[in-house]
Assembly symmetry: C2
């Protein structure tokens, strides 16, 4: 069993559904690349040879609305690819049907997801509950897999980070960002590689030959923003409001892979070819307008559940509020360091 870290549920003030602009920006920035991968790289003739239904999955869908926008975009690109392909299998009587599997942990708010499914959708919608580090689907049943802002979530915290006797003990920090101890970084990398080994083993079974898998993962400044939550917690320690050992025993279960990290895990698995792999700067209106506050409120929707779970709701609330108060400081830091949000885009094909 892997541990799950769901986004804030429902549709309240700090819910993920109302505060996922950051994830939206990541997805919007990658939309043209997803379309490009489908139009240029997908052999739709091969994957439609055994079925008239195209089966798509969103791995780590959370509660919407971003996932609906991504899926609609993919369906449209696949339809266009189908319509403009050569005439051999095309037949107006035989336009493919689309089946979409929304995957996330069983602790995800699927009720909210289902209740907000677009009425005018042109696909059959399903929930696929479970960890994407395990098997989710029957063998060779998926034609296209999409995962946005999800694979950086680790299945668990590397246990050495919490062990005082380990060289990887991560004292005073909540992440590898800002850690001067290379053993901390190594422990995160090792967990990421272990998780991805499970992930690719499962997907290699599930995706049809010629089927495609696309990743969009945040990189660069998104990572560094995590550090500001850690410094808010340390402020509370310094003011005597929080016991330092509680910070020592907390680590964010996220590793943000580089293109090199991604290439390594794909090649180790051996079942997928890398069709595209890019580090791309998003045209971030959020950052251009120096709206670090929005960014931090967005991150809060992702992190608050984790913080509450470990520190209790009072400390979590205060740490979040203090981090958001640092928005100006964060904006200034981003400007000085010319930090722009960037994403990794990868398109793989099942051999």
């Amino acid at each position: 069993m892997t541990t799950s870290f769901p986004m804030n549920a429902g549709d309240g003030l700090y819910s993920y559904s109302k505060n996922s602009h950051l994830q939206k920006e990541i997805i919007d920035g990658a939309k043209e690349m997803v379309r490009d991968a489908i139009i240029r790289k997908l052999d739709i003739k091969t994957i439609l040879s055994s079925s008239n239904t195209l089966r798509i999955t969103e791995l780590g869908c959370s509660v919407g609305p971003n996932t609906f926008s991504s899926m609609q975009h993919i369906v449209e690109a696949l339809k266009d690819k189908y319509l403009y392909q050569d005439q051999v299998i095309k037949s107006t009587n035989n336009i493919p049907e689309f089946q979409i599997f929304f995957n996330d942990h069983v602790t995800n708010d699927f009720n909210a997801l289902f209740r907000s499914l677009p009425i005018d959708r042109s696909y059959y919608a399903f929930g696929a509950p479970g960890s994407f580090h395990d098997r989710l689907f029957p063998s060779r049943s998926i034609h296209f897999a999409h995962s946005a802002s999800a694979i950086h979530w680790l299945s668990k915290i590397p246990k050495d980070l919490l062990d005082k006797k380990s060289p990887a003990w991560n004292k005073g920090l909540i992440h590898y960002v800002g850690a001067s101890n290379i053993e901390v970084v190594n422990a995160y990398v090792a967990q990421f590689e272990k998780d991805m080994e499970m992930f690719f083993k499962a997907r290699a079974e599930e995706i049809v030959p010629g089927g495609m898998m696309v990743f969009i993962s945040p990189f660069s400044c998104y990572i560094r923003l995590m550090g500001f939550f850690g410094s808010s917690l340390m402020d509370l320690v310094n003011e005597g409001k929080l016991d330092e050992s509680l910070v020592d025993s907390f680590n964010l279960p996220m590793y943000f892979p580089s293109p090199q990290d991604m290439t390594k895990v794909v090649e180790k698995n051996g079942c997928f070819s890398i069709e595209m792999m890019e580090l791309r700067y998003t045209k971030s209106k959020l950052v251009d307008e120096v709206d670090a506050k929005t960014l931090m409120i967005n991150l809060r929707a992702s992190l608050e559940g984790l913080l509450i779970n470990h520190f209790g709701s009072k400390i979590a609330e205060e740490a979040c509020a203090r981090t958001i108060l640092k928005s100006e400081e964060i904006s200034a830091w981003m400007k000085v360091n010319y930090e722009k949000p960037s994403i990794i885009f990868a398109a793989l094909k099942r051999k």
Copy 2:
């Protein structure tokens, strides 16, 4: 859009998940018949000719645990059928995989369903949100459909029942049970037939040729028990605690089909052959032990949401409590009338 009437959510005192013994008994009573239909009537060679995955759906699954027990039973029967068939397609390297789609309205508590999925299940589990009166699945994608205690739920209340000027106005009653006015019964039958027309049209598209659909539907004394809730409401009217017009404007959206009703709608659709159709008395321990109280608490888990929605929670609570107080009267009535719970079992095959 059809209206949905979900069972009581969660796992509290009057939740469906804790109070579905009645439904469990109906399912248990039919288990051997389901197995018999699979072993004797299903041509597994044909349905496995184009896919090594058997796709099963539970139509109207609610929140469990009954649905998990039914699905496990069906998977086991299908495995046995596969293992004892002739050797032509059998291969030990090629045991089929099972994919199960749990269907119910989007208002169903899928979160509870997913969180209670059996850990040791031998199938891939999915949620299929939506009304089974509409399309749910791609064309020819389902091999086996199962529906227990679900098709008696109408998509809406026949509007003539609420119209004072209509001959079908159902004054003072909440169901067709006990109605002396034949127009009331006819309005219910007409709605059932309209719903089943939609239902069978959708299933005829979705189920593969040779695929099977099995229904288990409550009949006989279960229907009459509904009347006791109506009489509790009328008691409240007679005591001046409830306005009679509120009772007049409430009708239970359920029609319990007879084998003749089922045969008629199947034949009208024309795409399915009737392989088995039986009215079967269940060996009801509940009724043998004259435990009418348990029966009524079970019905409460199904009906309470409807009552609250129309009458408000105070009246709903009182009507339910009063009905349960009538358990002895109900037991006596059942004994005098030799009323035994019975079910309709039907197994159909897609032509």
